[in-house]
Symmetry: none
Subunit: 161 residues, 2 copies
DNA sequence: GAAACTAAGGTCAGGAAAGGTCAAGAAGAG
DNA sequence: CTCTTCTTGACCTTTCCTGACCTTAGTTTC
């Protein structure tokens, strides 16, 4: 017999087949499944993580909501693997900006956050490149490492918001 | 269901797509959305800050208004290269004030504008330093970035005049 | 020209409406 | 029986909205 968590997961996945981004109210969903609200958190934490290919964001207070976004990574590929890939191939400044733009479009980042991240990225690169005289390829490697760190940070923070 | 604040934000952003500077009356806007005037302040304070890329000014009394300016973060031309240098070295509070003074002397800025920019600069620093516990060097870096953004905005506007 | 009036916008604290966290017990799996 | 997963409830934090009261800037009156 399937658990309640399984049923909730199934329901949410069903919805997420139709749309890329789903906005729900924790209260509402809990009422639908006649469970305690924190049960919803449990489902999200165990079944809709970044490694499952989802991004969960939320807002408290009046009119609060939980937003689940289905990330369109290649099937089977995990977020962390994508980041590892970045490391191997390196990231040019243009590619980095493309990645950030995409993250804005998918509402992972606010515009001003992306601007700030990009600036941080450039700062680090300028500093390091000058100090250690990095070649183009080495710069791309460094950029990949920094971008990866930033994105891991952002994805970790996403659920808390 | 979206909150009233979201709707007001949406409306203002819509308007600000068409124009760079928007002048509204708090009363009027509050009447449109059938809310208390201070609700407007709440929206401005939480969604139209410097970090969101907006500058909000206002005047009280008869014929009072609220002016929202969309900051142009797009990098400019040569002027920006000078500003990029700021990024590398960081800017202390004293240096920032010196820079602003020089800009007044060279008639790039009005005195009141410089005072305003300085205030904005300090606001941002106080906020960020408190929230993230920045060290002295990090503060200088952040100050450089913010000052750069502010000056880019001002210089962009100067061209328009 | 100063005082009183009027017409704005600003501040702040409190309550309500969400969602988050955590620990403990229950239920399943092996 | 033991280990993991699930479920619940008490308590916490954040966000939103309102209303009472304050400040500022024109306008009118004397």
């Amino acid at each position: 017999m399937r658990s309640l968590s399984d049923l909730i997961e199934q329901y949410l996945r069903e919805q997420l087949k139709k749309v890329e981004t789903l906005e729900i109210q924790r209260r509402e969903l809990a009422r639908m499944f006649r469970c305690v609200p924190s049960q919803i958190n449990y489902v999200l934490e165990t079944r809709f993580t970044i490694n499952h290919g989802f991004l969960v964001q939320s807002r408290r207070g009046g009119g609060g909501f939980i937003r689940i976004t289905r990330l369109n990574w290649e099937p089977g590929e995990e977020f962390s693997e994508i980041l590892e890939e970045l490391l191997e191939i390196g990231v040019s400044q243009e590619e980095a900006e493309l990645i950030l733009k995409r993250l804005i479009q998918t509402a992972v980042l606010e515009y001003e956050e992306a601007v700030l991240l990009n600036q941080v990225l450039q700062d680090v690169l300028i500093n390091e490149a000058e100090r250690n005289g990095l070649g183009g390829e080495e710069q791309n490697q460094l950029r990949a490492r920094v971008l990866r760190a930033l994105l891991l940070f952002v994805s970790g923070r996403a659920h808390a918001r």
